[in-house]
Symmetry: C2
Subunit: 209 residues, 2 copies
């Protein structure tokens, strides 16, 4: 038997979630979280670099999954599809934790601090994906752009997944969002490398207001 109760990290995460739900994020101090977990404030900061991080420690696993999915994708697959596959690969993991995600997301949306942290996690995901794409021989600026576009798709898909009363899986929403992105960017001057700024291609008609 260990000298201390095991799973300190998870106890801290659980305690934090409980308290955030009960009192809200900024009415909860780190000291309170630690106390509920049977630990001290100082120990909290040994597990999490700051208060926000207690809600984001899972992102490393997500990143690893996406990176390896990209690395393992068939050589012939186009970069955008490789990224799409990486996004879809995360779907089962999210499906398992839908309840948790649904508690977590409103907290994040309501607090600028937490939104900032989420955004930088997504940016970090984008970097990691771009790096993995470069490992496949994709040129740097293209890799960055594909990865960022992938994140845009993911954001859109995730938002709809959270709100989806029909409970489609995340992968479904990823496909829908990507198809939407393709429609959006289609139809215009992709030929010349620096098209004149105001060409006004007439494709998708703005629905009348």
């Amino acid at each position: 038997m260990g000298r201390w109760e095991p799973n300190a990290l998870e106890r801290l995460q659980d305690a934090a979630m409980e308290l955030f739900q009960e009192r809200g994020y900024d009415r909860t101090t780190v000291e309170e979280i630690a106390a509920r977990a049977g630990l001290t404030e100082r120990t909290f900061f040994r597990y999490f670099s700051d208060k926000r991080e207690v809600l984001f420690s899972g992102s490393k696993g997500l990143e690893a999954l996406m990176v390896s999915t990209i690395a393992d994708a068939p050589k012939a697959m186009a970069p955008i599809d490789v990224v799409a596959a990486a996004l879809e690969a995360t779907s089962p993991g999210f499906e398992e934790r839908r309840a948790h995600a649904c508690k977590r997301q409103p907290l994040i949306v309501a607090h600028a601090e937490l939104r900032e942290r989420e955004l930088i996690k997504l940016a970090s995901l984008a970097s990691a994906m771009a790096e993995s794409l470069r490992g496949r021989g994709v040129e740097k600026s293209v890799a960055n752009l594909v990865a960022e576009a992938g994140i845009a798709v993911f954001k859109s898909a995730f938002e709809r997944w959270i709100e989806d009363t029909k409970k489609h899986e995340l992968a479904h929403h990823v496909r829908v969002a990507l198809a939407e992105l393709r429609l959006i960017t289609a139809g215009a001057s992709a030929a010349s490398s620096t098209p004149p700024p105001t060409k006004a291609p007439r494709r998708s008609r703005p629905t009348s207001r």
Copy 2:
């Protein structure tokens, strides 16, 4: 003659920039910034909601410019081109402040805190653009996605603009990046709206998040 020296806000911004360059961001305290500007810490926090904000107060103007550019764009213009026009419209403003931007960007890149703030400013830009697009009758999810894609283009363009030794203007890089995005998303299964699940490599290790 005022009781106090005028331009307190600018004095604070200038003092902050100087000190950040001299000692680095996190070796500079708010008290020091305020002292150099001839003010007190408390006054600093009356002008800026937090320490980071002293580097980001310009983003409101940027947002306003983009929003009005979108609102004023020709009715027939496709959403993606409207957003491109908004991005390009910011070009002259950046051109004027190239020197400032070149001092600022390394600071931001070097500090996670500041990158977080930059990301949320960009996200805020995306929201504002999406809202403005909806005012033109663009459907919500499309508006969000177009705006996010626009931000992806902007990030890519801005990065290249900062590093561009040939000093092309920002608008040029925006056009290049958008053309690149179009090439990237072109070419594949845009036909079916919800294509069957691409066989994502079975790699799924459910990770906590």
